[in-house]
């Protein structure tokens, strides 16, 4: 056994010290009828064999490493500098547990303190924790925190229909035992009427504000929203004012890369800022591990969940860092804790910290600008193709909506098979009114040549007989 150093001779000596004849005797408390069940598992492989098997499995996938990717919708392909994974693999970071013993965990603790500082810088907020599981669970934890701030007296939560559909789903799951009223999701019609005419106004934000009352604990919007729309700081501040007027919390879920360029939520009245931190240094990895970042007002930290690092001094007065405010957490508060979170996404938070430090203020702005310009170039190009309509006539960052002449799934299949491209997200999956609409995402990882090829491909597809592909898709 590779990972078990003790030999039969070692075990014999140890058994003698323990005072039993055999290892099997150690399990006498296990009900005999069920002891040592035969397990039907595939036979053990050696290291070269397991690598071969894994490579074979990996080869069955079409990966964006080898393809052009125009898919976003909550998981983004941004450049990860080589230093990020290099540092992550330092064993002292990688194989450590939660920093319960601060004297030998200063590396993790200081790096996480720096992470908190940079998340504050990015979001314009005063405090940050060390992460939740992902953008979705961070949004759910924001709801729970808002209920805490409302001291349990407020039980209504307003969700924008253009908050990521999976985030909304997770909020429903998390709160199913809490007896809440969840409002706002049926306002999608308002958001969708806008593209046809009233570009520039924010009818959706108005409609959401119309739901506010004294029972409201919080209102959550995403910016840029799931459909790619960027709301202006003025629009957001106006909404924040209305949220605060009824004493509720204004929660904003945000793409961290967009904050390299755009005014952060801390500057337009947000009380809690959450989001998916994956674009900052974590690979796409089929959806995880990612990290949910979570920033807030300093006055509210005691109502938040999750680990927080604080600065202090050691016995000699030297600066040091510890986990602090742990009395909020489950290991001390038990059934009175507001969340059960224990393990978080510490290593992804470290990756995000290294990413932010490596990029710095100029690098992150460049990434955001490249994404912005390339996305707009792509939208212009695709909007000129007969049969396609770009319906994002609002300000957007790196994602926009295209109405397509064929079913989106079909187009995506052709893009993958014939052009080696991963196409956009099929919005019909979540919004029945958006059948035939594709959400395209363009980042600094997409070259002009790739974008030009995408436009050519989309044009060619309009002339194809897609019956062969109909067959493929109907299987799905």
């Amino acid at each position: 056994m590779n990972y078990i150093p003790n030999t039969d001779a070692d075990r014999a000596e140890m058994l003698k010290v323990v005072g039993v004849q055999s290892v099997a005797e150690l399990f006498h408390d296990v009900p005999a009828a069920y002891r040592f069940p035969p397990l039907t598992l595939p036979p053990a492989l050696s290291e070269p064999e397991v690598i071969e098997e894994l490579n074979a499995l990996a080869n069955e996938n079409d990966d964006p490493h080898h393809l052009a990717c125009f898919l976003g919708a909550g998981a983004y392909r941004h450049f990860v500098p080589s230093v990020v994974d290099f540092i992550l693999q330092r064993s002292e970071f990688f194989t450590a547990y939660t920093p319960y013993q601060p004297e030998i965990s200063q590396g993790t603790l200081q790096a996480h303190f720096e992470y908190q500082s940079m998340i504050c810088a990015l979001t314009g907020m005063e405090a940050s924790n060390v992460s939740h599981y992902d953008g979705a669970t961070a949004a759910a934890e924001a709801v729970i925190m808002a209920l805490q701030i409302g001291r349990g007296k407020r039980n209504k939560v307003i969700l924008s229909p253009t908050l990521h559909p999976q985030y909304r789903a997770v909020i429903h799951t998390y709160t199913q035992g809490m007896g809440l009223e969840i409002a706002g999701e049926d306002l999608i019609g308002v958001a969708l009427r806008e593209p046809e005419g009233t570009a520039g106004s924010a009818a959706l934000l108005d409609a959401l504000a119309g739901l506010l009352d004294q029972q409201t604990a919080c209102l959550i919007v995403q910016n840029p929203d799931f459909l790619g729309r960027l709301y202006t700081p003025a629009e957001m501040q106006a909404l924040a004012d209305r949220v605060h007027a009824v004493g509720a919390q204004f929660v904003v879920s945000v793409d961290p890369i967009s904050l390299g360029l755009f005014v952060p939520p801390g500057r337009y009245g947000a009380d809690i800022v959450t989001g998916e931190g994956q674009p900052m240094g974590s690979p796409l990895s089929l959806g995880g591990p990612y990290l949910g970042f979570f920033a807030m007002r300093a006055a509210d930290v005691r109502r938040s969940a999750g680990r927080i690092v604080g600065q202090t001094v050691d016995a000699e007065g030297q600066r040091g860092f510890v986990l602090t405010l742990s009395t909020r957490e489950q290991h001390i508060r038990r059934e009175k804790a507001s969340s059960n979170i224990c393990s978080n996404q510490a290593l992804n938070a470290l990756a995000a910290a290294i990413y932010m430090a490596a990029m710095g203020k100029h690098g992150l702005r460049t990434v955001a600008e490249l994404s912005y310009h390339k996305a707009h170039y792509a939208a212009d190009l695709i909007g000129k193709i007969a049969g396609y309509t770009v319906i994002s006539r609002w300000p957007f960052f790196k994602e926009f909506i295209v109405r397509c002449p064929q079913p989106v799934a079909l187009i995506n299949e052709v893009l993958l098979d014939r052009y080696g491209m991963v196409g956009g997200y099929d919005l019909g999956n979540d919004y029945p009114d958006l059948q035939g609409h594709m959400l395209l995402c363009v980042t600094e990882m997409n070259s002009r040549a790739q974008i030009d090829l995408l436009a050519e491909a989309l044009e060619e597809i309009t002339t194809m007989n897609l019956e062969r592909y109909e067959g493929e898709v109907s299987r799905g």
Binding site: F94, S128, E413
Partner: protein, 486 residues
Amino acid sequence: MGEPLIYEISRPGRCAVSLPECDVPPTPLPEGCVRDELPLPEVAEVDLVRHYIRLSQMNYGVDTGFYPLGSCTMKYNPKVNEAAARIPGFATLHPLQPEASIQGALGLMLELQEMLAEIGGFAAVTLQPAAGAHGELTGVLMMRKYHLDRGAHERNIMLVPDSAHGTNPATTSMSGLKVVEVPSDTRGNVDLAALRALIAQHGPKLVGLMLTNPNTLGLFDENLLEIINLVHEAGGLVYGDGANFNAILGIVRPGDLGFDVLHYNLHKTFSTPHGGGGPGAGAVGVSAALADYLPGPIVKQSEADGMLRWYMPPKSIGRVKAFFGNFGVLVRAYTYLRMHGAEGLRAVSENAVLNANYLQARLRGVYPIPHGDRTCMHEFVAQGILKDAPGIRTMDIAKRLIDYGFHPPTIYFPLIVPEALMIEPTETESKETLDAFADALLRIAEEARAAPDLLRTAPHRAPVRRLDEVKAAKELVLCYAPACGG
């Protein structure tokens, strides 16, 4: 001589990355939306790398040395896991790609679901939860919904032993249910008489029982079958906290014993690295009666065409996370499982339990071990209470262990043992390592009598001395001031 903050080595104009020129015509930026400041640090690549390497040197990991942190299963993390997770055909997959383009990844997940179901004795498994506590939430919400679907709206009470991890009661509250605590008996088992009384009192309102077995004292409950039976007779379900699964791989299957639902900690039992506190993965296995309630999507093979597809169970509690789970962690756990097979897994638990019993035997007589008369499983709980050293506490012993080059055990948990030292050696440690650790603890016991100040002021050989936690909690400094506050 602490390491400066990254902000303190920042100099205007530096950057650690090079990015391409813009190759498309620019578009004007939207008016009123662009930020005028962004207080991120500015550092060159070499300074960035040195900063983090120096920070890493102030840390202690399993690769540094012995890490007997009870309840955390700090076993060695095989390096092949890392190679596996970094294969581009896994690492660069977008979660929303068409199913047809990720058949290999889905195949890996399906096989992992099946292997975990087999090891635990369950009908179905979800890989979606991101950590153990997340798996608990998943399991408890399923138990709740199961009763609701049967019209049992009055069922809102969860029994939780007093030895449980804090996540158990916290999860119960978060799910909108009430916690009723069950005491332990003098042998460290669930107190059967008390359990009977509580069930008599709350029976018709019972959602179920959350049970960690082996429990946090490192003991396999001697009355387990009877406990499970009592809960089932009252119409309740039994939740298994799988934090201690490393003791029972191939030894016993919780599903066979009657557990209805259980979470696995892939980052403990199946060797994926802890990363300083995460990411983990908290897969959940369930009996057939609960299979339709699993959060999804999970992977299923289509009977029609053999394709692997995402599948949402019909009565699902919903998603607990965006996308499908911590896939990168799943790849590592899969790799570990494929390298072990059935015999290898049983050897893991056998050696983990032997190592714990050996350490327990070596410390017996010097450190009180409240249940030291019993065979322990993969861990045991001693006490930092030493004869003739009344002023010395567990904290002092733990800090002194650092001077000997070891990571301290879990301390002050479980709460029912005063001055607890919870020691879990795992199977990946050699007899020499265990002996060195036991020798250190025995020497510390002598020091406690002869030179107690050496303990009280420990550690002496760490990057910092003991830290002032009161100051940290009172005068909250949670970020570098110039960076925060917008």
